[in-house]
């Protein structure tokens, strides 16, 4: 079934890169997006500031359209659109009287049976970091990113639910799957000021400035967002916010989907990078050089470790090391024979796939030996081999 798609009003205007890159991300993942026909604005903050029924009825018309189109799940990239639709569907589900009332107001059949999801929920939960990693052909190694969740993707918890609202991790996982480094920082879920940047610019500027400062202080070289209003404030209004504090700010800000699609091989042009206000292309261009430096340092560290003991010491130590590693391998083998399920779960997170691995090794001693050897030396390689066994087995079973 295709995934329902609600691009939202900003997708045609200020958030055009978000729309472009979300669509490229879906294409890269082989997911078909089906846009809701003739959708309307969700009413955003202005509606719930003004009238509660209006705030429920506007999204409800879209939800009713999704039901007509038989779409169970609707992807709403904009954090506000997502939040308003999710709030309306939750309210209608828990309060049948209200659902009836709304159905009357929109003059449509309305069951509140569809679910609206955010880009975070889509990528981290439905698609999964593994799948994104698998589709990454140009990892963003060298990038130091501050993952900025803002408000509406994580609050209120009873609507958003799936991630922690104080220290969310889903965006960090996706960013890492794309090859970048996600820094730890304190302003992950602080507010960017939202519409205050328009209505009360001096207040908004302080909030924007503090988010950028905190990211920079934590060592980030860019900020990642999944909300078009956060982007508008942090990107378009960054220069002016800096001015208020006598500073020239130049922190590039990216949509999460831009990064995922870039890592998947799309060009900067295709995902909308040249449309940013804070120049964002040259940082991306600088990444290969940064990655080379990191790789060289990693290699040097490896060699230093290996060479530290010197050739003379090595032979004496070597046999001891050899012995220890042999013991470890034997222990692993025994583990596989005694409790294949447990060993399998150490290699594969997915429960079902781990179960299949347990079945495979129970019938194949050679594979036990191989996995035990790998696990003693390099857990990651062992996991990869285990995954390959399972994938091979599944293909065999399909035939």
């Amino acid at each position: 079934m295709p995934l329902g798609y609600y691009p939202g009003c900003s997708g045609e205007g200020s958030g055009i890169e978000y729309k472009m890159s979300t669509e490229k991300t879906a294409e890269m993942l082989g997911i078909k997006l089906k846009e809701l026909e003739d959708w309307n604005c969700c009413g955003a903050t202005s509606a719930h500031n003004t009238n509660q029924l209006l705030a429920l009825a506007l999204p409800a018309r879209n939800l009713a359209i999704a039901e007509q189109m038989e779409l169970d799940t609707i992807l709403a990239p904009c954090a506000a659109c997502y939040n308003r639709h999710r709030a309306a569907e939750d309210k209608a589900r828990e309060d049948p009287e209200m659902r009836q009332k709304i159905a009357g107001i929109i003059d449509m059949e309305f069951q509140a049976s569809s679910h609206t999801i955010s880009v975070l929920e889509w990528l981290a939960k439905d698609v999964g970091a593994e799948q994104i990693k698998a589709k990454t052909t140009r990892p963003l190694k060298g990038m130091k990113a501050a993952c900025y969740y803002g408000c509406l993707l994580v609050r209120p918890q009873e609507h958003t639910g799936f991630d922690d609202n104080e220290d969310p991790q889903s965006m960090d996982q996706i960013v890492r799957a794309s090859g970048a480094q996600a820094v730890e920082w304190a302003y992950k879920t602080e507010c960017c000021g939202a519409a205050l940047a328009t209505s009360r610019p001096e207040i908004g500027a302080k909030m924007i400035y503090e988010v950028i400062q905190n990211a920079r202080g934590a060592g980030a070289e860019c900020i990642v967002t999944a909300c078009p209003l956060c982007m508008l404030n942090l990107d378009m209004r960054q220069a002016k916010a800096g001015q208020q504090y006598g500073e020239k700010l130049d922190m590039p800000v990216y949509y999460l989907t831009e990064l995922v699609a870039l890592a998947g091989g799309y060009t900067q042009q295709e995902v909308g990078i040249p449309r940013h206000f804070v120049e964002a292309g040259s940082y991306l261009d600088s990444l290969p050089a940064k990655a080379a430096v990191i790789e060289a340092a990693e290699e040097a560290a490896r060699q230093a470790k290996a060479g530290k003991k010197g050739p003379a010491a090595k032979s004496a130590d070597g046999s001891q090391e050899e012995e220890a590693s042999q013991k470890k391998i034997e222990a692993m083998k025994k583990g596989f024979q005694k409790n294949p399920e447990k060993m399998a779960s150490r290699l594969i997170q997915d429960e079902e796939r781990a179960k299949i691995l347990a079945e495979i090794v129970a019938a194949d001693e050679k594979k036990i030996n191989k996995l035990a050897e790998l696990m003693a030396r390099d857990q990651e390689k062992a996991s990869k081999a285990a995954e390959a066994y399972v994938t091979g087995e599944l293909k065999k079973r399909e035939k």
Partner: protein, 189 residues
Amino acid sequence: MKQTLSLGARSAEGQEQIARIEKEAHTSIKLCYQCGKCTAGCPVAFAMDSPPRQIIRYLQLGLVEEVMAAESIWICASCETCSARCPRGVDIASIMDASRREALAAGKIRDQKVAVFNQAFLSGVKNFGRTYEAGLLLQHNLKTRQPFKDAELGLPMMKRGKVSILPESIKGKEQVKKIFERIETMGRE
């Protein structure tokens, strides 16, 4: 002589307003024990005359007039940090929201800019079914008498393909207009 402090609004109208705010916000102000965690975490408290804890206290004491006169209910960015952190489960952000609606209905609008922004936003949705960002900013600037606000951003926005020249309207715009009209005749909920 024993003295008891009587809490609650003195006027019947005030009592009604507070009851309505609580009902709309779907929460109870009586749960609040004034710890101040809401204010501590509020990202806009620095700009408020009465921060969130004080707003709740006013309501507990029946001082609804003070709440409606506060600028804070218009400054609140609806980020919901307060509600997420309240150890007593008070939905403070919804209280702010409901207080703003109550003030709006009573014609007590402390911050015209926010109210005008909301009005401009919704009138676009009512007429076209969607938000027309460029028109929204223009209307907001005209009504708040600051014609050149953000003008320096106009051209760069256009250059980046971020402004559509004409509003986009939907086929079902009459349907959307009817939604607004039905709610207007129903009054507030």
